[in-house]
């Protein structure tokens, strides 16, 4: 029986959450979604990078900027860890980009980007750029690595409607903490122009890092 889910294996998946102004978040998310707030007027920017090594999109790196939104909790359904609205995605290959656009209706930067992952002692540094033009520099740190399986609701919109995909991420080595040890530097760039960088926290309030994992996209549901 054919599996219509998307499978993406990765060496590193790093996701860091930063406080951002709710006024920016509201401008970014479509009207049917509501930004989550960690405090009054403070919403959440998720900066996620993947180093994919095998799967439906081939080998590529990916940078995803999202705003956290409430998941759609329904009686009897699995409880998701969080809901995300990815408002811009960038990949290092055309194949990776086509996979994200054609299959998952995700909004993309239409140029290849370069992402470097440098793993050090308890931390991973990521630099994203396009043709030498920097986009952002992200540092995530580890706490305890342990097996985990996480479920997210990812929301997409296009001219045809609004959609949701249940995205499962699982791996044997997952670390999550809120020690505020990481950092983010946002550079002026087409990809970050919707963000008021002065108002985004420099340190993530949550750092999530998975090694040797698998991301599985469930088929889109119209919502």
């Amino acid at each position: 029986m054919p599996d219509d889910r998307g499978h993406y294996y990765f060496n590193h998946g790093l996701s860091c959450l930063f406080e951002m102004p709710t006024s920016d978040a509201r401008r970014i998310v479509p009207l049917h979604l509501e930004p989550l707030e960690v405090q009054h007027e403070r919403s959440v920017l998720s900066v996620t990078v993947f180093d994919f090594c095998e799967g439906d999109g081939g080998v590529f790196q990916e940078l995803v900027l999202s705003v956290l939104v409430p998941p759609l909790v329904k009686p009897g359904d699995p409880l998701p860890k969080a809901g995300l609205y990815p408002f811009v995605v960038a990949t290092s290959t055309e194949m990776g980009r086509r996979e994200g656009i054609d299959r998952w209706k995700l909004p993309h930067l239409m140029r290849d980007i370069e992402i470097t992952f440098t793993e050090g002692d308890g931390q991973i540094s990521v630099a994203a750029s396009t043709g030498g033009e920097p986009i952002l520099d992200l540092i995530g740190t580890s706490h305890r690595f342990e097996p985990a399986e996480l479920l997210f609701h990812t929301f997409m919109s296009d001219s045809g409607g609004n959609y949701k995909s249940d995205v499962a991420v699982r791996g044997e080595s997952y670390s999550e903490h809120e020690f505020e040890r990481g950092s983010l530097v946002i550079h002026p760039h087409e990809m970050t122009e919707r963000l008021t960088s002065d108002e985004i926290a420099e340190a993530p309030f949550r750092e999530q890092w998975m090694k040797k994992g698998l991301e599985i996209f469930a088929p889109l549901e119209a919502i």
Binding site: E34, E149, E178
Partner: protein, 450 residues
């Protein structure tokens, strides 16, 4: 929880504790997962929440709000709602009764006398029929004590901040609060509809960045002692920045009035900045062991907020019975400075005992001492063990504090005897050693969950 439900919940969160054992399902989720629900029914979240709650309450959430069988003295009897057993003679480090005044015989007598004169409640809004002579007397005494022109009384501490912030600030103004500001300050910001910003805890350069960018009316919100960490505001630096940018300052001294400063007025007095702060907020529920709160400031400020503090206007006045108890407690406080001396001796003793034993207590420098267990999955379990071994303490977990920063918030009182502190420190250290939270030469519990 039925098998089907367990299956439905088991796919979302982390599966294992530190030692690799499977976590109880209840520990994989928390309140934040149940804030929004799908569908058009306003009750849509009740079923998923209830499914979680049925599993979570016995797993540890029952530890909150356990019924105490008597006054919040240093030793209390507490009913365990899970087993219905009454745990007797627990050492109480959970109550705010910092000076032990809530149950002093003189306070109880004053309360009984007030019942005879006034009956129970105020039976009206303080701006209508709910003001009695005793309220005026309390406000005047508090103004004298705080060294301010006037004081406005509120029925709860929460309603003070909500009422004055929303009463003063308007849409288009700017409010900047410390990121650890109490919920009452945040709710005041929300109600005011002003632009709201937060600066990183005690980071004055970040506060300056937020103020610099704004032209117009500005208000900065800080606390004297931060209630989850027990550290204090860097008041002089904050005052300096606020003056430079023309921002008014509100300091909430809920946990520091009657404790800090030469006269006990609070952290602002402690730093010699009392006159540079525009609004001084405090509560009667902590050190004075009563209920309600107050704003101290200029007469003009109080006059204005008398008309615009909706949380006060539309609440019943503070009970005259409680007001009588507070007045007596204030009198005792002023007559017995040794109470504060004793409190600080107790704080110094307990801080030293815990630090010497390697118990992580963060940056606390006050009577509020966080015992940083950090281990979210086992905070409840440790709470149960502490209770079984004779300690009453409340766990504080995400989302009240960040993940992996779970703690027990310990309150020291002047009423604690040295023997009680010794015993408390010994038990706490012993339990935390067993869980590997502070150093030991003996065995450590690596797994009891699952």
């Amino acid at each position: 929880m039925g098998e089907g439900k367990a299956k439905s919940m088991s796919q979302g969160g982390m599966f294992n504790d530190n030692s690799g054992k499977r976590l109880p399902l209840a520990m994989q989720y928390d309140y934040t997962h149940f804030y929004f629900g799908a569908g058009d029914d306003a009750f849509a979240m009740l079923d998923p929440y209830d499914e979680w709650w049925q599993d979570s309450e016995p797993a540890g959430y029952y530890l909150y709000g356990l019924p105490m069988q008597g006054a919040p003295t240093t030793r209390v009897d507490v009913r365990n709602t899970k087993t219905n057993e009454v745990h007797t003679d627990l050492l109480n480090f959970a109550s705010y009764n910092y000076l032990g005044l809530s149950y002093r015989p003189e306070v109880k007598e004053a309360v009984i006398e007030a019942v005879g004169r006034y009956g129970n409640g105020a039976s009206g809004s303080p701006i209508l029929s709910g003001s009695m002579e005793i309220h005026h007397e309390l406000a005047e005494r508090m103004a004298e004590f705080k060294g301010k022109e006037a004081v406005l009384l509120f029925p709860t501490g929460y309603s003070v901040n909500v009422g004055i912030i929303a009463g003063l600030m308007r849409s288009g103004d700017l409010i900047v609060a410390d990121q650890y500001a109490h919920a009452s300050l945040v709710d005041g910001m929300i109600l005011s509809k002003a632009n709201s910003r937060f600066f990183r805890h005690n980071k004055v350069d970040d506060l300056e960045r937020k103020l610099k960018a704004y032209k117009g009316k500005k208000l900065v919100l800080i606390e004297g002692v931060y209630s989850m960490d027990g550290d204090i505001a860097v008041v002089p630096d904050i005052v300096e920045v606020c003056q430079r940018y023309g921002a008014r300052i509100l300091i909430d001294e809920a946990h520091s009035t009657f404790i800090y400063g030469k006269n006990g007025r609070g952290v602002a007095e402690h730093f010699g900045c009392d006159d540079q702060i525009d609004m001084h907020v405090g509560t009667f529920s902590k050190s004075l062991g009563g209920q309600g709160g107050f704003l101290a400031g200029s007469q003009k400020l109080i006059n204005y907020l008398l008309g615009f503090s909706r949380s006060r206007t539309f609440s019943c006045g503070l009970s005259p019975v409680v007001a009588a108890g507070i007045l007596k407690a204030l009198e005792i406080f002023l007559e017995e400075p040794e109470l504060r001396t004793k409190l600080w001796e107790n704080v110094d003793f307990m801080q030293k005992r815990l630090r010497d034993a390697g118990v992580p207590v963060g940056d606390s420098e006050s009577q509020v001492i966080p015992l940083m267990v950090r281990d979210d999955a086992r905070a409840f379990e440790i709470g149960e063990v502490l209770m079984q071994e004779g300690i009453y303490l409340n766990p504080v977990k995400y989302p009240a504090v960040p993940k992996h920063k779970s703690r027990f918030r310990m309150s020291i009182s002047a009423a604690h005897t040295r023997e009680e502190l010794e015993e408390g420190a010994r038990i706490i250290t012993s339990v935390l050693q067993r869980y590997g939270i502070c150093p030991t030469t003996e065995g450590t519990i690596t797994s009891t969950t699952g």
